[in-house]
Amino acid sequence: MKTYLRALCLSCIALLLCLPLTGCDSLDEARTTHGIWDENGNILLNEETYLLLPECDYLQPQFSDYTGVYVTESDVPVLLKGAMGEFLFHSDDKIFLSPQYSSTYYCRADHYEEVTQQIRNGFTPTGYCYSYSVFDEETFEYSTSVYHLTDAQVHALSAVLATVEPVYQPAVVTLDFDYMAEIMACGDDLYFRQYACDVLCINGYYYVAQYTQTDTLLYEVPLEHHTAFHALMKTQRTIYEEELSYWDEEESL
C-alpha cells in the first residue's frame, strides 16, 4: 500500500514538474503577430526581415482583412505588444507591412529588390481593376476582393473616355448614384495601382467620372458599350441589390 501511495505521489510530482514544459497556443499565436524593430529601422517578424521601401504614390498592395501586427522595441515582452507597440497592417500575401493612415511600406526581404526595381522603373499598367467588399453574414466581417476588367471592358472604357464629350459639373455638387466602382490602372501583381476613373450607375444608366480640382467630368456611356459596362458592374450591382433587399426586409419588419 505504501509503495502504491509513494508511486502515486511521485507521479503527481512528475506531472506537475512537466507542466512548465507545455506550451500555450494563444501565446504562440500572439508571437506570430509580434514584430521587433532592429537597429537599422527594419522589422523582424516571424524570422523574416521587412525593409523600408522608397516612397511611391502608386504602390498600393492589397490590405483586405485589416489584420496586422504590433512592432515594438526588442526588449518589450509579447504580452505588452498592444500597449507599447505600433500597429501595422499586413498585406494579404504577407509581403508588405504598412502603418495605419500612412503611405509608408515595408517589404519582405525576398521581394525587396524586385519591388524597389519596379519603383525605380516607374509604373506601367497592364490592366484595370476595382476593389469591392463583401459582408459575410456568418463571420460578421467584410472581406475585400479585386475584380479585373476584361479586354472588352477595358476597350469600352477607353472608347468612352476618348470619344464621348464630357459634361462638366462643379466639384461641390454631389453625384447621387445607385452604386459605383473606383477603377484603378494596375500591374499584374496588383502591387502598383493608380487611380483612373469612377464608373457610376445612375437610374440604370452608366457614367464614367473623372475629377479635377474644380470640376467633375461626366462621360455618359453610349448604348453600344452598355453591355460591356453592365458586365463590368455586375459585382457591384449584385452587392447593391442585396443591400436593397436587406433594407426592404428591415423596413417591412
Partner: protein, 269 residues
C-alpha cells in the same frame, strides 16, 4: 500569555481558512491541467473560460473569508458566551483586540500569497514566464521615470495597504462593539452602525465637496496645481504618506472606541 493567545487564534483561523486556500490551490492545478488539452474549439473555450471564472471566484471567496472569519472570531470570542472564558485570561482588552487583528492580518498576508501562488500555478509554463517578463519590463519603465523613489513608493504602498486593512478590521470591531451595547439584535445593531457610519462619511464627503466648489476661489488651488506640476514625485509621496497617517489616526480612533467599550461597557450574553 499574549503569545499563547496569538498561537491559539492563528490555529483557530487556520482550521477554517487553510482548507479554503487548499481548495483554491486545487482549482488552480485543475485549471492548469485543463490547458494540457488545449483545442481550437468552442467546447474547450467554454470549459477553460469556466475554469478561469471559478478560479477568480475562488480567489475572491478566499480573500473575503479572511475578513469574515476575523470579524466572526472577534464577535464570538469576546461578545458571546465564549467571552466569559476569554476575559478570565490574564490578558488586557487591548491585548485581546491586538491579537485578533494581528492574526487576521497574518492570514490576509497568507491569503494574498496563496492567491498569487494560485495564479502562478494556473499560468505555469510559458505564460508565467511572459507574465514575469511583462511585470519586470513595467517595473523597469517605472524605475526610469521615478528612479530611486520606486523603492520608497513600494514601501509606502505596502504600508498603506497593510494599515488600511488593519483600519478596516478595527472599523468592523468598533461596529460590533457599539452594536453589542444594544439589548436585543446585537448583530443587526452592529450592521446598522456600519451603514450609519458609511452614510455619515458620505454626507461629510458631499458637504466638503460642496463647500470646496462654493469657496473655490478662496482656496490656493493654483498654488497646489503648480506644486503638483513642479514636484510630481514629491506629491505622490505626500499622498501616500498622508494616506498612511490618516489610516493610522482612524485605526487609533477605532481601537480606542473598541477598547473603551470592552473595558467599561461590556455586556456579555
Amino acid at each position: 500569555m499574549v503569545t499563547k493567545l496569538f498561537k491559539h487564534e492563528v490555529a483557530a483561523l487556520g482550521r477554517v481558512l487553510l482548507p479554503v486556500q487548499g481548495i483554491l490551490l486545487g482549482i488552480a492545478v485543475l485549471c492548469r491541467l485543463l490547458q494540457l488539452f488545449e483545442w481550437d474549439h468552442a467546447i474547450y473555450d467554454i470549459v477553460f473560460g469556466s475554469s478561469v471564472f471559478f478560479l477568480v471566484v475562488a480567489n475572491l471567496v478566499s480573500l473575503f473569508m479572511v475578513t469574515a472569519m476575523g470579524v466572526v472570531r472577534f464577535y464570538k470570542n469576546l461578545f458571546t458566551a465564549e467571552g466569559y472564558l476569554s476575559f478570565t485570561l490574564p490578558v488586557t482588552p487591548a491585548q485581546h483586540i491586538f491579537v485578533k487583528f494581528t492574526a487576521a492580518f497574518l492570514f490576509q498576508v497568507i491569503g494574498i500569497c496563496v492567491s498569487l501562488l494560485s495564479v502562478c500555478i494556473a499560468t505555469a509554463g510559458e505564460v508565467l514566464v511572459e507574465l514575469l517578463k511583462a511585470a519586470h519590463y513595467l517595473l523597469n519603465e517605472l524605475f526610469k521615470v521615478v528612479e530611486e523613489h520606486l523603492f520608497l513608493y513600494l514601501l509606502e504602498i505596502i504600508l498603506l495597504v497593510s494599515i488600511s486593512f488593519m483600519c478596516g478590521m478595527l472599523l468592523y470591531y468598533t461596529c460590533i462593539a457599539i452594536g453589542q451595547l444594544a439589548r436585543k439584535n446585537r448583530i443587526l445593531a452592529a450592521v446598522g452602525v456600519y451603514f450609519g457610519y458609511y452614510a455619515v462619511a458620505q454626507i461629510i464627503g458631499t458637504v466638503m465637496s460642496v463647500l470646496l466648489s462654493v469657496f473655490y476661489e478662496l482656496l490656493p488651488f493654483e498654488a497646489i496645481s503648480n506644486f503638483i506640476e513642479q514636484h510630481p514625485i514629491g506629491f505622490v509621496h505626500i499622498l501616500l504618506c498622508g494616506g498612511i497617517i490618516l489610516s493610522l489616526i482612524m485605526a487609533g480612533i477605532y481601537f480606542f472606541i473598541t477598547h473603551i467599550i470592552i473595558r467599561k461597557r461590556l455586556n456579555l450574553e
